[in-house]
């Protein structure tokens, strides 16, 4: 059905000169959402992507593609200028008016399923696979990732005493933003066999140095951009006043690629393993 719509579009939009649409699926895709970009590339269909939004930063080939602006505020005409035959969008993509304008231009817009955490990933992979005519590949990818997650889960279940981990999404100006319950970081910390040092609130809140010290985390987890901004993980530890906590005394700071850590997708098992190895150094050889 989709390819029929795409054919109609191709007939109607000759002046934008989209590439000829083949029967096996769309050939010129604009992908809105870094998680979907990773999935398309993991399915080996990266050569069909002609543009992404600003969150499409992995893999390197995706990062080099034309960018149509930020996920939540992309420019519709910028998308059309890439002469796509399909827009694959995360449900968070917007504004809604821009999506409507794309549809009005006769461009099919496929909204991937949403959801949070690891359980949302296999349905997304299946959706993209169906859309691109790569259903078998999608099934294989899902199965492989699922198996790896299951293997990690059984190993991590052996962790005797889960350490408490504080995740700071940014170091702010004097008030670092800490990640509470219900966040992607919270889910990843649990998957890696640890517990979130923050239990008092959901979402992100700026915390004072005193409040941070009171959390007494065993380890500090930082996204790479936040750590780089202050000159590395150890510098960050001192900066936010965690020197007196168990994490500070042991110098335990884990710095990870933010997209990989938080953007649930094909790289999530790898991220879980990386985080678990950093947190449980004693059992690294069994992960």
């Amino acid at each position: 059905m989709l390819s029929r719509r795409a054919l109609i579009l191709a007939a109607g939009a000759a002046l934008a000169a989209p590439a000829p649409v083949r029967a096996d699926g769309p050939r010129r895709i604009v992908v809105l959402g870094g998680d979907l970009v990773e999935i398309v590339f993991a399915l080996g269909a990266g050569d069909r992507v002609v543009g992404t939004d600003d969150t499409g930063r992995h893999p390197a080939a995706a990062a080099a593609l034309p960018k149509v602006g930020y996920l939540r505020r992309f420019g519709p005409e910028g998308v059309l200028s890439l002469a796509p035959d399909l827009v694959l969008a995360n449900p968070a993509a917007g504004p809604e008016t821009a999506l409507d304008q794309l549809r009005a231009a006769g461009l099919p817009v496929a909204l991937a399923p949403g959801g949070e955490g690891w359980p949302s990933v296999p349905p997304k992979i299946a959706f993209v696979g169906d859309l691109l005519g790569l259903a078998p590949e999608a099934a294989r990818l899902s199965a492989r990732l699922d198996a790896e997650m299951a293997r990690l889960a059984t190993r991590i279940a052996d962790v005797p005493d889960p350490p408490s981990v504080l995740f700071l999404i940014s170091l702010g100006r004097g008030a670092p933003m800490a990640s509470g319950g219900g966040t992607a970081a919270d889910a990843m910390i649990a998957l890696a066999g640890a517990r979130n040092a923050v239990t008092g609130f959901d979402g992100f809140k700026p915390l004072s140095a005193e409040a941070l010290t009171g959390l007494a985390p065993d380890a500090l987890l930082l996204p790479d951009h936040a750590a780089e901004a202050v000159g590395g993980g150890q510098a960050a530890l001192a900066l936010v006043g965690l020197a007196g906590t168990p994490a500070g005394r042991a110098g335990r700071v884990v710095v990870m690629d933010a997209l990989k850590l938080l953007g649930f997708g094909p790289r999530t098992p790898e991220a879980v393993r990386e985080l678990a190895m950093a947190l449980h150094a004693d059992m690294a050889d069994r992960l």
């Binding site: 939009a13 034309p66 939540r72 505020r73 504004p95 008016t97 409507d100 009005a104 992100f204």
Partner: protein, 353 residues
Amino acid sequence: MTAAADPSTLAHAAPNRGAGLLGLLGLSVALLAVAGLALGPVTLSPAAVLAALAGQGEPMAEAIVLHIRAPRVLLGLGVGAGLALAGMALQGVLRNPLADPGLIGVSAGAALGAVGVIVLGGWFMGGVPAPLRPWIMPAAAFGGASLVTAFVFGLARRGGAVSVPTLILAGVAVNAIAGAGVGAMIYVSDDQQLRDLTFWSMGSLGAAAWAPATLAAVCIAAAGVGLARMARALDLFQLGERAAFHAGLDVERAKRRVALGAALAVGAGTAVAGPIGFVGLVAPHLARLVVGPAHRLALPAAALLGAGLLLAADLGVRLAVPPAEPPIGLATSLIGGPFFLWLLLARMERGDA
């Protein structure tokens, strides 16, 4: 400075020359509007654009011209003219040519109202009848802008003309207070709202579709008609409020009307396009340079220049790095910021800052 030969002491423009200049400005704005319809990241031939405008084009060309570019041009015209008129009116009442809606905090007030709706809207939108919902954000932005305008005019009431330092300090304070309010909203917003706020606060015409653009244009047109009729009042304000009263002006009523018009124009524009800085400063200045300071000509000239500036800036951001689109607020601030500094320094050198 007594020699009549010094051209700088002579009149700027004779009335009929003024009308000609207005016509020229109108023509330029019309050309920019046509350019706004014809140019963009998608290359369309003039014939394709014409066919689309006539409703006989390719479906995609029609969608681009009629549903993406046209509402955007309308929004640019409205927001640019509205900010310029509001800037000119505020400058007139405060007797201070540096009174820009952004600098003195009117835009920040509007932003606080709009941000409140973005973040808290989820709580109360359900209780609002569906047809009224699109009006909530402009109404909140208008409310915020009105509060700030009333406060700044209150300053003017105490001291007569508002001096530049007072105005800038008041602007710093108002912007800080509104900033704190926005900060509080950020504190209670979730991750996604936070990102929305960040991008909204840079200003963009990209959210233009017919419904919001028309809504903003209607509000701004109403405000513009109201402000355009204040030309004589604004002229009289240049004598000071007391002399304006002596010459027959109901000063308090005129101030209320200017405040209402400026807040409506800034509020409606900000709600849809986000805060866009410096148009309200640059356009009135250019208008005075072109047609002279009398408001009968300067008001319409400022409206045209504001509309033209914003259309030009929008064309710039659309064509600069396609397919991405930098926020237009960045573009106007990039031009307006240095302009403002130059103005401030020039006035300080003359000793009347």
